[in-house]
Symmetry: C3
Subunit: 349 residues, 3 copies
């Protein structure tokens, strides 16, 4: 067989390393498309002039563009036969990526657990993205529910990895050779710095963004993500939802772009603590978002920049003025689609 049909649950072994195909050079072209797809306005990533004034050699690529690219590489090997993308943890944005850098990705299987129905199992992988110097630029864990090819196939002994509930602020490293004390708030879009956010504070990002089929497919192909549910109406029209499912990462990027209105100075994602896609998004739906400040911590060796731990909640067809949330039992209303917990850097006074 010349055609790959992806790995099924019984194909994965604990400790297995998968070198993912199709290295990718990200460029100014990808940045332009990223802007067109999400309308992101964070100044560091938008203007070389602004980034240089802070010590960057030029604007780094948007963190989520890097994340989606690395994620996309892992799809043909990890999640082509996935039923659901269950969660993220221990995501570290280690090194800024600039236009012209070629990325590769490798995943290690760090956990496996067959489901009791023996039809599926959960695969845990730690995926790393590397640049041409073989430096890690990004590392994260995700776990997915993957179909078995053969219900009767023998599987490895169950192993569920211990994952950190959150990345510790002590592990966060601000970009080298940067200096945020002269961060120009008239250009960044908000006067509110790290010092101005309070733990427990909730922010409604107000604006809504409707998603079209052409948009999410352009995005998902840009990331060379081959998950079939996003592209094929012929098949999906007969499937579970009767329509194409939008890539969860598209939702994260939309919500992050919306969060600019309220978090304009949370200029860069430092770490992903946790993330869940709790309901599906479809074309024609309108995405809204709100954030909660979960924690704020100083950053090692830096007085010019701090870290905000933020919970970013996205909804569909539901404005967020009342901060729609899971209930006491942890169940999410059907309009909530994303619950994403991350650390962002923000300049200090």
């Amino acid at each position: 067989m010349k055609t790959s049909s992806g790995n099924f649950f019984e194909d994965f072994k604990l400790g297995q390393k998968l070198v993912h195909a199709t290295p990718r050079t990200l460029t100014e072209g990808d940045t332009a498309l990223h802007t067109a797809l999400y309308g992101s306005r964070f100044a560091v990533q938008s203007a070389d002039s602004f980034a240089r004034a802070l010590g960057y050699p030029r604007s780094p690529l948007d963190d989520l563009l890097v994340f989606h690219t690395v994620f996309g590489k892992s799809v043909p090997d990890i999640s082509l036969n996935a039923v659901a993308n269950l969660g993220y943890a221990e995501g570290h944005f280690v090194k800024p990526v600039y236009p012209g850098v070629s990325l590769t990705a490798v995943s290690e299987v760090i956990g496996l657990k067959e489901n009791s129905n023996k039809q599926t199992g959960v695969v845990y992988v730690r995926t790393q993205g590397f640049d041409e110097q073989d430096d890690t630029v990004l590392s994260y864990v995700r776990w997915v529910m993957v179909r078995k090819r053969d219900v009767d196939a023998p599987v490895s002994e169950a192993h569920v990895p211990k994952l950190a509930a959150a990345v510790s602020a002590q592990q966060l490293v601000a970009p080298w050779n940067t200096q945020f004390s002269e961060f120009e708030t008239s250009l960044s879009g908000s006067p509110h710095l790290w010092d101005d956010y309070q733990v427990g504070e909730k922010i409604d990002h107000v604006d809504g963004m409707t998603v079209e089929e052409a948009e999410h497919m352009l995005a998902t192909r840009l990331y060379q993500n081959t998950a079939r549910v996003h592209f094929n109406q012929f098949t999906e029209g007969k499937g579970r939802f009767g329509k194409r499912l939008i890539y969860g990462g598209h939702v994260i990027s939309l919500a992050r772009a919306l969060s600019f209105n309220g978090l304009a100075n949370a200029f860069s994602i430092a770490a992903i603590n946790a993330g869940r896609h709790v309901n599906p998004l479809f074309s024609g739906d309108t995405v809204f978002a709100w954030s909660e400040v979960l924690d704020k911590q100083p950053v090692r060796d830096r007085k010019d920049v701090g870290a905000l731990r933020l919970r970013l909640v996205a909804t569909k067809n539901l404005p967020c003025g009342e901060f729609p949330d899971r209930n006491a039992e942890g169940q999410y209303p059907e309009n909530v689609i994303l619950d994403f917990d991350y650390w962002a850097f923000a300049p200090r006074r």
Copy 2:
């Protein structure tokens, strides 16, 4: 409040300067998207080889891409609470912008006039775009009708600025170090030079272009324009039109691209004399355009290039063979959507 809800009419003061957020580096990526969105074929902006033969260091960015970018920066401060974008005047394209240049924008409030209903008022601003040398690349006036937050709020004394009916041809400056006497018409797409156009001549641009939701939203986000009416079907579905309104600048760019067929050698926009969006455009509509030559003038110190004053009229769902226009009372038929008056440069014999 961390979230910005934009300025309302009573927030503006005569003489106030607003430094707009999110500087933006425009790149080859933006040029590619601009081509994909409009299909523009003006040779100077399309090929570095063609531009270099005329003395440019490389292809400059499309003038309207620069305009939309600068305009987009002004939206969060000027027109987030606008009811209508009423007009443009005194637009000067001062300096060509090349890929890699970072732009910033500043607006000055030059006029204010409350409407008699006290619900809204008209704000006049002169917006300037600057490059990294702080040189002005673009300057224009626009006026918008903006809602009041509080009907009873006191407002500034009315002041309506005197605006030029048109930019004088004497003010137009052709790009430095260029020389158009060797302009290659076999490559530019038309044998008709400045000399060949007659005042009063009308040109039907023939072709039509249908607009999709994904397209105008990609464009408007590319310009980081945050006006809500373009993006949010959830809210707009319940609003005035029941659907998303297309950014007026998207119409200008579509009409300008269509005008290539008839004006291929009007290679660059020199100035905007006036412009009005006289009816709204929606997804699914097909845009057509026609032009009228209003004036033709030599350009200061140049024998190789002249200026054409052109009126560009765009319609929706109405071919322009009969040059649909306002009537004797100045009223526009509902299919006419744009009336745009500008100076363009064209090579001379």
Copy 3:
């Protein structure tokens, strides 16, 4: 008349050379859009690092992006009044094209044959694309059925050119200064090299891709292709199909991208032997594809790379597990949309 309405059949003369308008510099921005439009994953074109390891100075542009750009230039002169794009032959990809290169295009009329109804005739052209050194980067023949302006107009004597049934493998030249013996299959996405393909082998590419109006219009404008049937719903809604017709080249690119799954190491198109668009594609349709290995041949002076002659068949709304094909009379079922015969390079063991 300032507006061009294109050439009609009686305007063409045997031996006529047409210099096409609007030279075009292709950039990293175009590459990003190409990826977003098709999701192509061939490693040579995706990552500079991968290309450099093989001797390229950086990733060359996708061959079909170059093809569509050159094709697009020829449309205003050759096929604006075409009823149908009948076929391709003798396509040679002569020289890799890199971001930053400016392309121009010239066509020569090599055949003319009026149809018996005298309403239309077939025009054969050989179109060449040139870079700034005036080197040919691409050359191909296509023939189109073009309307007559005037049924009674006299036309040239019929001349049908003799075209090669296929490009001879002896004519194929692998890119200079490349060396594929170290081709890294863990990164390219498949272990299958030239040696592993058998003549007669058929490959179902499995995946399907649904096409939206916004996508094919963005693509076709990116190529500055002005054929009206792709863009104008107002007119096409009243026409033959009641809707916009998708540019045939968009289908080729979609099918080529789908063919990655099964032909990941057929990294570059060397030649086009033949090609026909046998049924139209419309927005909302889902494209599938399968390939057949028609021939395999060594490449002159090279032991590291061979040539595969591949037949790429695309369908709409019909998965290709059963390899849908023309019948014994050469008639295609209505779900088959493309029959494309080309040579691709692939590394050897």
